[in-house]
Amino acid sequence: MSTARPIAARPTTARRRLFSAGAAAWPLLAAVLGIVAVWYGVTYLVLAPERRFLLPPLHEVLGNTLGNPNVMNPMFDALWQTVGVALCGLAIAVVLGIGYAVVMAQAGWAEKILYPYAVILQTIPILALTPLIGIWLGYGFSARIVVCVIIALFPMIANTLFGLQSAGPAAHDLFTLNRATRVQRLLKLQFPAALPSIFTGLRNAAGLSVIGAIVGDFFFQQGSPGIGGLLRTYTLRLNMDALFMAIILTALFGVAMFSVFAALDRAVIGRWYGRGAA
């Protein structure tokens, strides 16, 4: 979070950021309470007692899982595995996405030739591609990462490209008049101008990398299972308490990833434009 960064060490700024982070968390907390309320409402008011196993009340889910290491330990191991896949896939997607966009930004024809591939990658439903990836790469760690990269790549490419092209014609003229080289133009104009968009892409890619990692887990069960693999196992066994606990964990994981990158975005971009840097 931004408050943990050494840059925010000045007390007033740090406190202001902490305060705004707290203020930003309120709606989220309210949403969580809302979901819990609907959950209980459905459990007790909608479902007849004999059908209540379809949505056991939250306290039962937590009570039957949290205290039981035989349930929770494999679940945390699996989550950890999935976190690894998501972060790994995200890192690869960031590098590939930025690289691809930089190449496209070099010339109009490069963009015309290369952009359609990115669009096609984005529009093929990942579920159609996943079985093939398994056949090609096996059903282990690398296949999971590939699924994750494919899902997370497009927002990185699209946002980076948009950002690299966001510098105005006058700014480009300024660089031309000063006889800037292509590399100078990229590093001192296009890339810095793209930074806000790159962070937007990163935020979206982070959320998608979680989905990608879980989809990968779900399909590829070789090696130690990820949380997606457990979701499948629990579903097959109709182990409802564990299933709901696993869903809660994946949701928390997704929210955490998104929040971390949203906070990173705010902190970096705020400093970028000199806010609070007086």
């Binding site: 105005g168 006058a170 700014a171 003229d173 300024l174 660089f175 031309t176 008049l177 000063n178 006889r179 800037a180 100078q184 001192k188 104009l189 810095p192 101008a193 930074l195 970028w272 434009y273 000199g274 806010r275 840097a277 007086a278």
Partner: protein, 243 residues
């Protein structure tokens, strides 16, 4: 006197078929500050782009006798992620000047435009007038022989605009570069310049070239003198006659 910028029978037609300029001849000598006024769309910006080498003529010749040319755009065109000082440093940085040297020059240029103490501020933290001052500092830091201005004060409020005019003519008096200044304000042109060139509507041609007699630095109250009014009247008449 060095003829810093010479345009000889210059024409510019765009691939779209638009003929922006036709038969434009114009000379700016060292120590001259020439303003160009003309109806909008008559090719004034095009003229500057040709003079700076950003674009190429389709007829006639351009001769530039300057080791360094600077360009002040209509918008301040600052890099938002850089402080004022680092924005002014940009040109030196791109041309590979040593860091200590370019930083010292940038500081001097900021002092010159009255921005001492604002070095670390980013563009978003500065007012419109201050941003334009940074832009002018960035243009003057390279000690240009030829300085080109494309309606730099057009977007500023009237009070800021008058103050910037006063500052710019004293900078000109101090530095003595050859200046070519585009504006749509007749009084701005007369107040700033040694000569005012009037252009016709598109395709733009030079239809009047009116010398301005007063020496520099010029006091702000010059604007309220009868001779000033007479000269702006003369320029306005030429403008109206040909637009």
């Amino acid at each position: 006197m060095t003829r810093t910028l010479v345009l000889d029978d210059v024409a510019k037609a765009f691939p779209t078929g638009t003929v922006a300029l036709e038969g434009v001849s114009l000379t700016v000598a060292a120590g001259e500050f020439v303003s160009v006024v003309g109806p909008s769309g008559c090719g004034k910006s095009t003229l500057l782009r040709l003079a700076s080498g950003l674009d190429e003529v389709t007829g006639g010749d351009i001769e530039v006798n300057a080791t360094s040319t600077s360009y002040v755009f209509q918008e301040p065109t600052l890099l938002e992620w850089r402080s004022a000082l680092r924005n002014v440093e940009l040109a030196g940085e791109l041309r590979g000047a040593a860091k200590a040297d370019r930083r010292k020059r940038a500081q001097e240029a900021l002092d010159l435009v009255g921005l001492t103490g604002f070095e670390k501020q980013h563009p978003r933290q500065l007012s419109g007038g201050m941003r334009m001052r940074v832009s002018i500092a960035r243009a003057l830091v390279a000690e240009p022989d030829l300085a080109l201005f494309d309606e730099p004060f057009g977007a500023l409020d009237e009070i800021t605009r008058l103050r910037m005019q006063t500052e710019l003519q004293s900078l000109f008096a101090l530095k003595g570069f050859a200046g070519l200044f585009i504006t749509h304000s007749v009084s701005e042109a007369v107040y700033l310049s040694t000569r005012v060139v009037v252009m016709s509507g598109r395709p733009g041609r030079v239809v009047a070239d009116i010398p301005v007699p007063w020496s520099y630095p010029r006091p702000p109250r010059l604007r309220y003198e009868p001779e000033f009014a007479a000269l702006t009247g003369e320029v306005s008449a030429a403008l109206e006659e040909h637009s």
